[in-house]
């Protein structure tokens, strides 16, 4: 099998002359790298030496073989080193990229799946979003600038990160905030949560080809992004109708129940954790939230259906919180003249709790560490997709609600 040679490492240590040959077509030899004119594969480097014609290709040459010794094409010989599927059949596996521009996944997320047929045998995921320069590592920056930068870190949840930066700075500077301000912030954060969760629904709908839901969720998401309190509260009947409709949708349950299951793990955050029965919610310890009658939504099955239900429950509950909060704050920039100190804050972003630690010196942020939910979730992808059918695997990855922008590698 010529494919075996394609992964053989070649000795490249000394400076023997190198030529390039196709793993499939040994007769194709070039002096510089490129692709094979016959099949388009990358040419592999090879040292020029006396035995430059590899013997393993003789097995392909039927007409020249003596058939009596049965040396040709023994399936057992040829397939014995191939990876086995769980039904015992040795097959060729291919690496297929899904992303950075794939219709069913967030942009900038690169997911490379090793496919065995249309079953996922392994997965590698990384983000291609440019976000490494957003936090100051050496150069100090003033507090307002820092808040702006953090708000731009994740375009999918700007308010949550803005709030996170503000609270960490206020914590460092020892600023107390008024209860009305705290409630206004809750209003803003919950509005963003509703928009984000509707975005989750829209992605779910897109991944499953559920056009009606895609249109509804997208329209509601656009409505809710900049809505004031009255406009938000006016969405309630529509959201209730949407939930009722989803309960009656055929195939929805079979599409999501028992799929994408995750073991309860301390890497789980936010709705993914709450769908797994873990009470992990930064809001449940926040006195301002407790005063508004906050309660966590929880499911135990840890599958895609549970995540769907948690997202739907939280949309409704966030509306209740917005109603109780009484206002939606605009989150103006902080004024911390020349305070110094260490600060820490945890905010329950729509994707789970994000934690920021920073050091403030004379009103300037001199160091900061950020921990985001998507960073944790990225490492779950392999366990989530292994041995799943392709559609199920992609849906499970989508149900994690990864934001490539907040992933810190």
């Amino acid at each position: 099998m010529p494919a075996e040679t394609s992964h053989t490492p070649h000795h490249m240590s000394h400076t023997a002359p190198v030529e390039y040959t196709c793993p499939m077509h040994p007769e194709v030899v070039q002096h510089k790298p490129g692709s094979c004119p016959k099949c388009g594969m990358f040419l592999e480097p090879r040292e020029v030496s006396a035995d430059s014609r590899p013997d393993e290709h003789a097995g392909m040459d039927h007409s020249a073989m003596n058939h009596d010794d049965m040396a040709f094409m023994s399936m057992i010989d040829v397939t014995k080193d191939l990876p086995r599927s769980n039904d015992g059949l040795p097959m060729d596996w291919i690496d297929v990229p899904f992303g950075p521009f794939f219709p069913g996944l967030p942009s900038a997320l690169l997911l490379i799946l090793t496919l065995d047929g249309d079953t996922v045998a392994g997965a590698r995921a990384q983000t291609l979003a440019e976000n490494t320069a957003l936090l100051p590592d050496s150069a100090a920056m003033d507090a307002e600038h820092f808040v702006e930068r953090l708000a731009k870190l994740d375009p999918l949840a700007p308010l949550a990160y803005r709030l996170l930066a503000r609270r960490a700075i206020e914590n460092a500077a020892g600023v107390e905030i008024a209860p009305t301000t705290a409630r206004g912030r809750i209003g803003a954060l919950e509005r963003e949560r509703i928009a984000s969760h509707l975005g989750w629904l829209a992605l779910f709908a897109q991944q499953t080809g559920f056009d009606w839901l895609l249109q509804r969720a997208t329209a509601l998401q656009l409505h809710s992004q900049q809505a004031n309190r009255q406009q938000m509260l006016a969405l309630k009947p529509e959201i209730d109708r949407l939930k009722k409709r989803l309960q009656r949708t055929p195939l929805l349950k079979s599409r999501s129940v028992g799929l994408g299951q995750l073991l309860p793990d301390d890497k789980l955050r936010g709705p993914v954790a709450r769908a797994a029965g873990i009470t992990d919610d930064a809001r449940s310890t926040d006195p301002a939230y407790i005063a508004l009658g906050f309660k966590t939504s929880q499911r135990n099955t840890s599958d895609i259906l549970a995540r769907l239900q948690v997202h739907l429950d939280e949309i409704s509950h966030s509306l209740v919180l917005i109603e109780a909060a009484g206002s939606i704050d605009t989150l103006p920039l902080p004024v911390v003249a020349d305070a110094s100190g260490d600060g820490e804050a945890v905010v329950e972003t729509p994707r789970g709790s994000a934690r920021l630690q920073l050091r403030l010196d004379q009103g300037r942020v001199i160091s900061a560490q950020l921990d985001t939910p998507s960073t944790q979730h990225l490492s779950l992808i392999n366990a989530l997709t292994e041995q799943q059918a392709l559609g199920d695997a992609l849906l499970a990855v989508g149900s994690l609600d990864l934001s490539p922008w907040e992933i810190r590698q």
């Binding site: 388009g40 991944q207 080809g209 056009d211 949708t249 195939l251 929805l252 079979s254 599409r255």
Partner: protein
């Protein structure tokens, strides 16, 4: 002459399907959109991926179109408006539409791209799930008509349409026909979010236009087949026969297009399991029920 008329009607029907599809998708009824989209597609570059199986790549869209058109040739719009009233018409339409599978396999394998190839093989699995649910209900229809002639099948429904006489068969056939036309929720082979359009992924420009035209024609053919086999064909009071055929075909098309929007795509494993563990036993039950019914109350 008749055949030319029917082909023109078929193309007009495919056009209406496109209008209907856009209407259902975005709520705007615009008759010019498909023409403009078609011209735009002709004007776009038609790229051939590197090192493909060129014969497969070029043949697939044409074969899909031929398959859809030939399938429609045995379906009567009125007692006289039929191209070839083949004596084995009900079997012939199956034979023609099986080449939808062959076309999609070619389209999947041809371009040497991962998304397309997986889409093609997925459709073979889909065929294994739906094929029996096409042929077994048609058998039951033929039992009542005592003939494989499609005109005879329509005539046999003069007293009572088959949708009432064998509702189980109708349900199975309708669902299977949607699966044959890879309409949502059975669009496993062309799933946009799972395979970036799957078998259609590598087609662009005029080749994609042919592919889309073939798909629309296929929907038309299957709607017409549903009407002929289950909805009494051209029969109906007051209106002339061609009007009844047209109205029924459009209604079935709309139902097929609408259903897919209201539910998520089916999982391949579920499709196979339900097709075999539920669909085939039900189809056999349908044959048995119709068998008894035909003997006691023809």
């Amino acid at each position: 002459m008749t055949s030319l008329l029917i082909i023109l009607l078929l193309l007009a029907g495919a056009y209406l399907v496109a209008v209907l599809e856009a209407w259902i998708a975005n709520g705007r009824l615009r008759f010019a959109t498909p023409v403009l989209a078609g011209i735009a597609m002709l004007g776009r570059e038609s790229i051939v991926p590197r090192q493909p199986d060129r014969i497969f790549f070029e043949t697939a869209p044409v074969l899909l179109l031929i398959s859809a058109i030939l399938g429609a040739m045995v379906l009567p719009l009125t007692p006289d408006l039929i191209t070839t009233d083949l004596a084995t018409g009900a079997l012939f339409i199956n034979a023609a539409l099986v080449y939808v599978l062959v076309a999609l396999l070619m389209a999947g394998w041809g371009p040497d791209g991962a998304y397309a190839m997986i889409g093609g093989w997925r459709f073979l699995g889909q065929l294994i799930a739906y094929a029996m649910l096409i042929v077994m209900p048609i058998t039951a229809v033929a039992m009542r008509a005592e003939s494989l002639l499609t005109t005879q099948i329509v005539v046999s429904q003069a007293g009572l349409w088959n949708i009432v006489y064998q509702p189980l068969g109708f349900g199975l056939f309708f669902v299977a026909a949607m699966a044959l036309a890879f309409l949502p929720p059975f669009d496993l082979a062309t799933a946009n979010s799972e395979l970036a359009s799957g078998v259609e992924a590598e087609y662009s420009g005029v080749r994609l236009a042919v592919f889309r035209l073939a798909r629309l024609t296929l929907v038309m053919t299957l709607a017409a087949a549903t009407v002929v086999f289950y909805l009494g064909g051209w029969q109906g009071p007051w209106l002339p026969p061609w009007a009844w055929s047209g109205l029924k075909i459009l209604a079935v098309t709309a139902a097929m297009l609408l259903a897919g929007r209201l539910m998520p795509r089916i999982r391949e494993a579920d499709l196979m399991a339900w097709g075999w563990m539920l669909g085939i036993p039900l189809a056999l039950l349908n044959i048995f029920l119709v068998g008894v019914l035909v003997l006691v109350w023809p």
